[in-house]
Symmetry: C2
Subunit: 598 residues, 2 copies
């Protein structure tokens, strides 16, 4: 069967926050073609179904599905009679809405029918009433259905019923959460797949109902193989909409337009099989700073090599590490990340296809035309080809200052970006789809002021790395540091030598408690423990390596710098030691506050 070039993109209103009107507006603005109307959203709106139909038409949205119709089959004749009445009412609403398909999910009730033939019989009775009105039922197996909980069980029922107004609704969550094999879906008759709902999810070891209701994600944000499922559904000949149905606690309360744009991007990324533009490294990191930032960079062996032609921005360099210090006085810490891309304009075009417009930029005469986009946390991402004609570095007038001696920094290892609470999963999809980075795994650690979730992203060869963190709960008033600091981690071949040199130059390196070293000694007994203690090196081992870091205090409000060294193939990002680092940062701030109050 032919695979449609462009499938319609739809979204269930339950994915988004707000009243029905907010949700429809957001879906239309984000570029969806259609929606599933979630029944409780309709019940709560003062718009009549006919007015909802008109509103959708005005917005250019089709209504592709009405959902859900629950607990259809029953061993109790009185309950089934009430169900028929309920179905007739539902069909009336559908006619007013102008939607022809309703989602019927497998029963979770105590009186659910066990025998497939009898379920088929009851479904057929309702389907026949639907057919008479030009409507149809899409039957879906809930992963926690009383008797029907797998897609093949739902297909068995539909096959037995063999009714033209009864088909399947396939939902990736229910299929993949049960670890069912989606491959045999390819052999289904495509015209019996009435609807396809897509949701991703993280790998979690929890009750499937809880997992489904709170932790679903948009495709590409989690761990499910949605491409494989989609291939099977396409092979069967399904050509209906690709529709998102994501129950997620965060999305349910965040800006619906942001969430809808994120959702739309997930479908584009899922169906666009073009390869991302390869990245080859960090070009630069631009940070907000002042003279104290410059002092710290100097103490870390950086030389001020350039001043921007028109903006209050300085370029500082050491070997392959380039830091732009923007003195315009921003609140943020990391303003921009420049990545080396083989073809910057192509990277920007890919971003635009994914709903990420190019960043409008003020450009002076003779300044480079840089391709840049905005990440979900507000950080600008520049696609660079350092060394090419018209590259970004030409915007800087070289200084005549003598280069200072480096301390052994060789480049930028990674950038640590504390994320805004509502946009952590959005960021994962952004970096995966727009930059082609791969998530290296997600984790969590207990920090002094609450739990922190982590997610590392890197390109295939590890030349560009980002470390994202977010509080597990949005911070309240007690926890200090509601905005966690961001950081730039510099790569060193010999972090001990680098730290020694930095300390000699007066770099404000963090003091790490003796208790920490006593514990490292007890657990790991590393060879250079005395030096680690002397220099404030945090040392952690992973199964495949070790990670060493020395951190500066927080400069300019929300930024610190780290000297790091990776040993082995998978050294991680220093997250095991992050709580110790955070406690040390907090202590340093308290000391400064006390000193300032004097």
């Amino acid at each position: 069967m032919p695979v449609p070039e462009q499938q319609r993109a739809a979204i269930a209103t339950v994915c988004l926050s707000g009243a029905l009107e907010d949700k429809l507006d957001a879906a239309a603005k984000a570029g969806f073609d259609g929606v599933e109307i979630f029944q409780p959203d309709l019940v709560a709106t003062p718009l009549s179904p006919g007015e909802v139909r008109l509103r959708c038409a005005d917005l250019g949205l089709s209504i592709d599905l009405y959902q859900p119709f629950r607990d259809l089959d029953s061993t109790d004749p009185a309950r089934f009679a009430a169900t028929l009445r309920r179905a007739d009412h539902t069909f009336g609403v559908m006619e007013e809405l102008g939607v022809d398909t309703v989602l019927v999910c497998s029963s979770v009730a105590a009186d659910a029918v066990a025998e497939p033939d009898r379920i088929a019989e009851q479904l057929s009775a309702v389907a026949e009433r639907a057919r008479a009105r030009g409507l149809r039922l899409a039957y879906e197996a809930l992963a926690w259905g009383t008797h029907v909980s797998t897609w093949d069980a739902s297909w068995d029922v539909v096959r037995r019923a063999d009714h033209p107004a009864l088909g399947l609704c396939l939902d990736s969550f229910h299929i993949l959460s049960r670890r069912s094999d989606p491959a045999p879906i390819a052999d289904l008759p495509g015209d019996k797949i009435f609807f396809l709902q897509l949701a991703d999810a993280p790998s979690l070891d929890m009750d499937v109902l809880e997992w489904s209701r709170h932790h679903r994600l948009f495709p590409g944000q989690g761990a499910f193989d949605l491409s494989g499922l989609l291939a099977a559904v396409h092979a069967a000949g399904y050509a209906g909409p690709l529709s998102l149905e994501v129950f997620n606690d965060v999305f349910r309360q965040s800006d619906p337009l942001r969430a809808a744009v994120d959702a739309r991007r997930s479908l584009t990324a899922l169906t666009d099989h073009s390869l991302p533009v390869p990245l080859t490294g960090h070009a630069f990191v631009e940070v907000a700073g002042d003279s104290s930032t410059a002092d710290v960079l100097a103490a870390l062996g950086f030389s001020r090599t350039g001043v921007h032609r028109t903006k209050p921005v300085e370029r500082w360099e050491q070997a392959g590490a380039r830091i732009l210090v923007n003195r315009a006085g921003s609140e943020a810490a990391v303003l921009a990340v420049g990545v080396e891309a083989a073809d910057p304009p192509a990277a920007a075009r890919r971003a635009a296809r994914l709903g990420v417009p190019a960043l409008p930029r003020e450009r002076g005469p003779r300044e480079a035309d840089l391709a840049a986009v905005r990440a979900p946390d507000g950080t600008a991402v520049f696609f660079c080809r350092t060394g090419a004609r018209d590259d970004w570095s030409g915007d800087f007038v070289p200084t005549d200052e003598p280069a200072v001696d480096g301390i052994g920094v060789t480049g930028i290892d990674h950038v640590g970006l504390a994320q805004p609470f509502d946009h952590f999963d959005e960021a994962a999809l952004f970096y995966r789809s727009v930059l082609g980075l791969t998530a290296e795994g997600a984790g969590e650690y207990a920090a002094p002021f609450g739990l922190v979730r982590t997610r590392a992203l890197a390109d295939e060869r590890g030349t560009v790395r980002l470390a994202l963190t977010v509080s597990r709960l949005r911070r309240g008033t007690w926890a200090p540091g509601v905005s966690e600091p961001q950081y730039v981690a510099f790569a060193c071949d010999d972090v001990l030598a680098a730290a020694r040199a930095a300390r000699a130059c007066g770099a404000p390196l963090l003091d790490i408690p003796d208790n920490y070293y006593a514990d490292v000694d007890a657990r790991l007994a590393p060879a250079h423990l005395a030096e680690y203690r002397e220099l404030g090196v945090l040392y952690e081992e992973t199964p495949d390596g070790a990670y060493l870091q020395v951190c500066t205090e927080v400069v300019g409000g929300r930024l610190f710098l780290a000297l790091t060294q990776r040993i082995g193939t998978d050294a991680g990002y220093g997250w095991t030691d992050a709580p110790v680092r955070m406690a040390a940062h907090r202590r340093r701030r308290l000391i400064r506050e006390v000193a300032g109050a004097r």
Copy 2:
């Protein structure tokens, strides 16, 4: 064996937010006798173990336990050799801290030993090194231990080892989460129970590790029978500290002093078997208001019966419902709840025993001396004996205004209190322990701007009822109504007649969408549907009853009033319809905003 009159109260530092110093301060201020030092807290502090010992001594805290020592037993001789080295280090830290007991939890490692005799042998080897230094090991079965996951399995190992420096640590979570029977604990030799850790938890159907790490609660906040466990442990002869070990995402990031006071209260409530002072009804509810509040009360059939002698407070009454309108211009909605108590001073003394001091009150001459305390959300709770000599109503000078006709309100059904995010579980314990209310069950609903958790509390006879709600995630910037409105629900015998009368008097009742009534018809087909629709009645059925409510718009910023009727034995609190009510409230606000902008 004798049960100790007063057992020492301790808390694990891991329960609280902040750096170790914050935690110790909070524990001491909240009145704990001792602490368990959580090893990662010690590792991150710049205080040496000796300095921590001194700090605790200065604060009047003993150090009762050092924890945890993980993965002691191993099938790998090299790993076990490293464990012995790690143990020696731990013992050194313990000597400096001045603590004699370390918690050893059952191994979760892949190389964990399976045979009880061999585990006993390895534990004995470490216990022998401990004994030589005057220290001892308390062995605990983690519910997810590789081979030892139940308390009786851990006892089997300890019994086999039969070493004087090796005993048990019992943890209520690990025992009760596995649904193990704690009764046989009574037959253990009491001197082999080295330590007792207490934690409550809600009933949740999830992976036990996830449940334990994120959702533990202080005793009395969850669903575990801790009294039963405690009785068994006491019967065995245990006389060591009662120590709290609670991993909870919210407490981990909330004010540590608040959390410590809450924690201390939980132990007092657990061990104080005196009965709470019986309650017999709502005396009054004091709300912040202005002339619009007064207008709405008048339209709902209330008469202004009194004016406070010295404060800008009016008393409004209708049958058994009394509302005090405070015109001092507060931000809050519900300022105070007055409950009828058989013995108000005794209720206040009980509150004081539970760490809830009496509320200092400005009192004019001839005004009643009212016993009042502050609930976690800031609401004042007054213990009243309306009608007794010197009761609260004497503070009001009667008005000469003619009484208006009532509309059939008979009293206060319940008060709806939207809770601050950090204090939802604290509130449950407060109302249970201080007022003797019982939690009628916890739930959750999907509201237009995010998920909402619910918890109803009532006295045994249902004369005092509170409905608590909180957002599942602390609200961000998108969701409007970051502060959900609070409300007073009035009881009516005939809510239809009351609503009709209120509407005739111009009460600003909410419009409920037609879609809602179409859905109620389809689902429930109630007899009086046409009247519900006409009057804006929300109608929901529970297995044992029905709940009808008509709500006003939000008045004075954060308050609405509801006319309600209960049918049957368990009518609930109208939470199924809350999302419809919330959408209607939001729509009414938008309309007002648009009108205001014109």
